[in-house]
Symmetry: C3
């Protein structure tokens, strides 16, 4: 049993780091597309990687932030920014974007579930917890796009993204209320979010659009 | 006397709900104009409805947020978003905008007075209290416009909006310092703000513009 | 010795006020360029002047904000906005921008060092303290540009700005750890930041750009 938990913890850490890198890379590429300078690229990378969790902690009045208690992740993202500026070129973007789709989907699931979990620990209502999950998973990308002066992709590209995290968030809330062990709830929630996201990408599903 | 208070409370609740709906509708229509997807329209609706009060509570370090202690309002705004997506069409926008002008003006007054009140309760200086009133009344619309990637209407359309709330905020502060009963101060402040806003719309008053 | 401290305090206050005015003026001119109305120009001036410090205090969970405990500065910036609207014209902008370069550079150094100091007092890790310094010095301008609906100049103009504050921040951290007296650390940090900024402007240094 302990062995399972150890591997579970390790798996979670691997997913978390891969997802943080994926979020940061998405920010770095967006910054590069907008012709930001070196400082701008780094800031947008940081915002994309840490913005969602930081905004959630601000709203929930929780300290310390993830990147304050895990300073190494800050250095890691900074190193990623420098490496990307040295080696990543425009013609790699398409391939990189395909490569980060899965870590990004898993990260969306993991960060959303983490956000829901934190809010439930504070005994907030279920719907607020799900909202906090959405903020955690989605608002890093929103801040990235706001600073890059464009309408957030998550609100504009008509592909399900936040909606997948919404579904996964409710799964987590449901299993939590049924007192299912934490790691099962986490695994189920991440599977639902990432699975729905994968399905949406695979079948090219579209969100309902406004009929003018 | 109790009866007066009961009707006062009811009136306040009605104005509050109507104003929240008006703010949300303004956000929904802005999102629709920018061709956001269903998720984006909802998020912008929520930001417009709750953004100002949430930002004020963040600045004042107050918890819980309004939408955490009144979860039903969250569901209400969500329902409004869904209904709007189903039934509101582009050719209704002009009429809807005219219809929400009054609830919007009343809401500006009510939210601004509430913000001033909260800050005064914390014994903050008068000018800070008035600023908090402005944040409450105006920054929901500002966040809405920032996410929709445009210069905030409140800062750009040269029609008095924040300025009305500024005046109403000082009325509230003045009456508070004279120890006038709360509901009189509230009614006077809302009347001044909404009255000035109505006057500005009716006479098409313009803010002084920068002379280049 | 007491006399030195008195003049040090006075000098610091003069720099602080000049820098706040410089930041506010940069915001006012940006708002004027974007044809904001009188309210918008004031809000952007306030955001530019106080946004960075306020964001830092939000992140560090510190209250009261600078502008709450020093209400007079609020009135001062408001007066500056009114005076600018009355007397500043488009053909003064170029000269004004040159005139505020030095107070702006000194302010960047002073605000960054203040941010680092506050974070170190809370026993946060060094890299987090330097980040808080950057937020204090740079994010007022970022908020200004976000509200004016453009990509933040600090991330886009390829001239070292945040990078100077980054260097100055590490100087402060280093001297703090060596237990050097506070005013020496402050003076050294401000000198490094403002000196690098001045050098960058003088020699027209460019940040490395992304190679597409």
């Amino acid at each position: 049993m302990e062995k399972v938990q150890f591997w579970g913890e390790t798996l979670r850490l691997v997913v978390e780091l891969a997802a943080t890198a994926a979020f940061a890379l998405a920010g770095i590429m967006e910054g590069a597309r907008k012709r930001l300078d070196a400082v701008g690229v780094c800031v947008v990378g940081f915002l994309a990687a840490f913005g969602g969790g930081t905004l959630r902690d601000l709203l929930l009045d929780q300290r310390p932030f993830f990147w304050v208690s895990h300073v190494n992740v800050l250095w890691g993202v900074l190193a990623l920014c420098v490496l990307a500026m040295l080696f990543l070129r425009g013609h790699h973007f398409h391939l990189t974007e395909r490569a980060i789709q899965w870590p990004d989907a898993l990260g969306l699931g993991l960060f959303a579930a983490t956000g829901v979990h934190q809010a439930l620990l504070l005994e907030l209502p279920a719907v607020v917890a799900v909202l906090m999950g959405l903020v955690t998973g989605v608002f890093g990308g929103v801040l990235r796009d706001v600073v890059c002066n464009q309408i957030p992709t998550a609100f504009h590209d008509h592909r399900p993204y936040a909606l997948c995290a919404f579904a996964g968030g409710w799964v987590y809330v449901g299993l939590w209320e049924m007192a299912v062990p934490g790691w099962i709830a986490l695994a189920a929630s991440v599977t639902v979010t990432a699975g729905l996201r994968g399905l949406a990408l695979w079948r090219n599903l579209q969100l309902p659009a406004w009929k003018p």
